[in-house]
């Protein structure tokens, strides 16, 4: 376990000694800020219109601002996360430091979990930026905190899944651009898999759509924790990390 923390700590430090951490946090802050701005403007305008029209149905901040904002954030995550995961192993392979890790008295799974946790920590730091906007909502409104919490849980699970996939892809190449690009393509594909179900009712189409990452996120953003979504994300994370360990092992055999 100590080894996991050692490697995790080193990864976090690597992110923050390079510009990538700050760049990603800034980009996410900017994009999320824009979402927040747009969503609140729409919300406020809509609210005014409702009042002028004499209607008196209360509008929910959660429904109008937070849910769409978190939904957008999950899409942005798909774009940003490959930038976090691409270097995990590709960089070590290129610079030869992988030899240090693999000839140290450390088990493969300790390396993998350590690196994945390090990347998760980076992702959490990025997500934390969005807390600023959410805090603003709490300062001037009374949103329900429970759907916010589940929404973040969903974002974390979804991020973990994409990171696990990205970690695996990063072990297959020594080129970071290839690792990042491939991860991005795979994530994009996993996102749009859900389209299949919209034009096909067959069971296989439903099964394919089930593998879509984003469809499992939606319930979370609405405040619903469904076991089937939890199971999906957690098993996807396991699958990604398992493939990573197989890939790392095969490195030894292929050299």
């Amino acid at each position: 376990m100590r080894n996991v923390f050692t490697i995790c700590g080193k990864e976090i430090r690597s992110y923050f000694t390079s510009p990538i951490a700050y760049l990603l946090m800034a980009l996410f802050g900017l994009i999320f800020g824009y979402f927040f701005f747009s969503a609140t403007i729409v919300f406020v305008n809509q609210g005014l219109r409702m009042q002028l029209g004499g209607g008196n149905t209360p509008m929910s901040v959660n429904e109008w601002v937070i849910a769409p904002m978190l939904g957008n954030a999950s899409v942005v995550g798909l774009f940003l996360i490959p930038l976090i995961s691409m270097r995990l192993f590709a960089e070590e392979k290129r610079s030869g430091t992988i030899e240090l890790l693999m000839t140290s008295p450390v088990r493969d799974w300790e390396i993998i979990i350590g690196k994945w946790l390090g990347a998760m920590a980076m992702y959490l730091c990025i997500l934390a930026i969005s807390a600023i906007n959410v805090a603003l909502l709490f300062a001037w409104g009374r949103p329900d905190w429970r759907p916010i919490l589940t929404g973040y849980l969903g974002l974390i699970l979804q991020g973990g899944t994409v990171l696990a996939i990205g970690t695996f892809i990063s072990t297959t190449t020594r080129n970071q651009i290839i690792a990042g690009g491939t991860t991005f393509a795979v994530c994009l594909l996993l996102w749009v898999l859900s389209w299949v179900s919209s034009y096909n009712e067959a069971p296989w189409a439903q099964a394919v759509a089930y593998c879509s990452i984003l469809t499992h996120f939606e319930p979370f953003s609405k405040g619903i924790i469904d076991t089937k979504d939890l199971v999906f994300y957690i098993s996807a994370i396991f699958l990604g990390l398992f493939l990573t360990s197989r890939s790392l092992d095969s490195l030894r055999w292929r050299a």
Binding site: S14, S95, P105, V106
Partner: protein, 331 residues
Amino acid sequence: MIKVEGLTKRYARHVAVNNISFEVGQGEIVGFLGKNGAGKTTTMRVLTCFLPPTSGKASVAGFDVIEQSLEVKKRIGYLPETPPVYPEMEITSYLTFVAKLKGIPGADIAKRVDEVCERTGIGDVKNTIIGKLSKGYRQRVGLAQALIHNPPVLILDEPTSGLDPHQQREARQLIASLSGDHTIILSTHILSEVEQSCSKVIIINNGQIVASDTVANLHHRKGASEQVLVEVSGGPANQIKQALERVAGVASVQSGEGKDGLAAFEVRSLENHAIRPDLARAIVQGGWNLNMLRPMGESLEEIFLELTKSETSADKEKEEEAPAVLQGEAQ
């Protein structure tokens, strides 16, 4: 300390290491010599558990590299060909990271880091970011990394490559100072390095061991026949040649052109004859000037070149003979 038996490593297309066997005793410094691509690095990677062997066995300190790889890894310090450093880290934080990986107890880490910095001569730059260091310093950081857990076995892949002559000497001195406590395998293609710092040499070519012996024994490999280069002035060449041929124990004399028009001769002795004193006397007695008399005992370089000649070379006969003999020695 290190035992390799029938080790073979096959990659998809070619055999990198073919059925090699050798042993290294406690405290020995063994030089791994071979051309690029001869299989040195592959062998080292197997010993450090980075690559598993295709067949055969290897063990370090009694632990098998496959079955008990964690135990092996604890006992090995490894410097790969390119030092495995993270350019964005400072030396101290890098070494602290490695120390943790190698399982050094937290309380001892700072002390060990200071010790290896001192030992490898990077104490004065230890707060520098590794990416800003010169190649020589980076190599030292690599060495420090290999030493941090004070391992009984050190495996150094070309520890002096890319260093300037001054740094090379320092590195060699450092390695020599480590002998005794540590068993060391180092690879190189600098032959003088092996002669200076290694007790034993393993010459490897096309994945096979072609010679495995002490440096002294390799020098005398050719048996007791002596070859001497003589340069003489002050007389007609054929007369001198005849005089040299008359010396007792001389098997053959070949005349050649020396420097500045001097007569030069390559004299080969019969087995078990020391002919140099008699050669000198014969020349002086003939009234000529003896400019040079040099034994042409095979240098390690010549042995190396001969043993690692590619198979397409002209004298294939000799080539096939040598490995067969030396293979016997190796086992």
